[in-house]
């Protein structure tokens, strides 16, 4: 049988897991949408001049994205050391690369918007709620709390980013939209890894649910505050916001954490 499967879905489940957690899979997946870019977007897109108030809001939003991506970069790197198996270590090493790229793209976009020192701007503008989330996530990693840290990072944080990026794409200027659309493709892998890894571990030992629920109760308000702030800056009507949180709520429900 050749490698060009007539039906991918007949693949053995263990073989599927082995394949998708490989660096080879990651490389072949990202080459479809990360080639020939400049600062994370198509090079033929001309940055448009934004009105002053829109530029200000976009800079603030990007500063929050930077802190969220930094949290995911630092936590992913730390989690490699405590990952329970080789598949998880390899997957997280691909996530580290993704998150590092995201920070580079966000800072590149800030520079295109005229921000001279993106790091200083992030320090000045990022919201307290996302900074607190960053600190609490890294504390879980430092405490070697694998289940809780994966939940905080790959379910809570990634679900929020996925939802916020998707909403932002609808309203963004062409350059920002192109950057976000490519970042969103990476986020699918991160969300899926988190949910599947946790789902397997909760099935093996349902007692773990108790600890994860405690983490959820502690971190939910921080993420919701960031979520609300960003959606308000995006001028998203309040009545549309519950729908946007649905992907996170559905994931939590599938994992039996409600």
């Amino acid at each position: 049988m050749s490698d060009d499967l007539p039906d991918l879905h007949v693949l053995d489940p263990d073989e599927f897991i082995r394949r998708v957690h490989s660096f080879e899979h990651w490389f072949e997946a990202v080459e479809g949408y990360l080639g020939d870019l400049e600062h994370g977007h198509r090079s033929d897109l001309e940055p448009s001049e934004l009105p002053a108030d829109e530029r200000e809001e976009l800079v603030s939003i990007l500063c929050n994205y930077s802190v969220a991506e930094t949290a995911a970069l630092e936590a992913s790197g730390g989690l490699i050391r405590i990952a329970p198996n080789q598949h998880c270590k390899i997957f997280l090493s691909t996530q580290v690369v993704d998150e590092g790229r995201h920070i580079e793209v966000v800072h590149g976009r800030l520079e295109e918007l005229g921000v001279e020192d993106p790091e200083a701007e992030v320090e000045r503008r990022a919201s307290q709620s996302i900074r607190d989330f960053h600190d609490k996530l890294l504390a879980l990693v430092d405490a070697r709390e694998w289940d809780s840290a994966i939940f905080a990072q790959n379910v809570i944080l990634e679900a929020m980013e996925f939802t916020v990026f998707a909403a932002h794409i609808e309203r963004a200027d062409p350059v920002t939209r192109d950057c976000l659309e490519r970042m969103l493709r990476d986020e699918r892998r991160h969300i899926g890894f988190g949910e599947n890894e946790l789902g397997r571990r909760l099935r093996a030992d349902p007692r773990r649910r108790r600890w994860i629920k405690a983490v959820k109760e502690e971190l939910d308000p921080l993420v919701l505050a960031t979520f609300e702030q960003t959606l308000a800056e995006l001028k998203m009507p309040r009545w549309d916001r519950p729908e946007l949180g649905r992907s996170y709520l559905n994931a939590v429900q599938r994992l039996g954490l409600v």
Binding site: D3, D4, V10, D12, I191, N196
Partner: protein
Amino acid sequence: MAEPRVDRERQDDAQDSGESAGERKRFALDDTGFDEVPKKYRKFYRKWGGPEDPLAPNEVLCPVCKVVIRSPRELRPGDRVYCMACMARMVVVLGEDGRLEAEVVY
């Protein structure tokens, strides 16, 4: 490259359920431009256009990442499908509204 390991039991089940007798419709899959998975697997997926985007009998929506999963044959409850975009394994079930849905298997 090494031969991919396929699930023989699942393949046999598919044949026993009448696939060889032609009861299930077959579908030729083409590349719709879904670029988030390796090139050789792209035909098994497509972007979802939202609630107004109807799914074909060989398609089901990934509940985790909202990508349309495609099979070369008509899907039925009990079939297993994979989402390579988010790495989820799923089983096809009949939803409350009578439409096919994918349920994540951990």
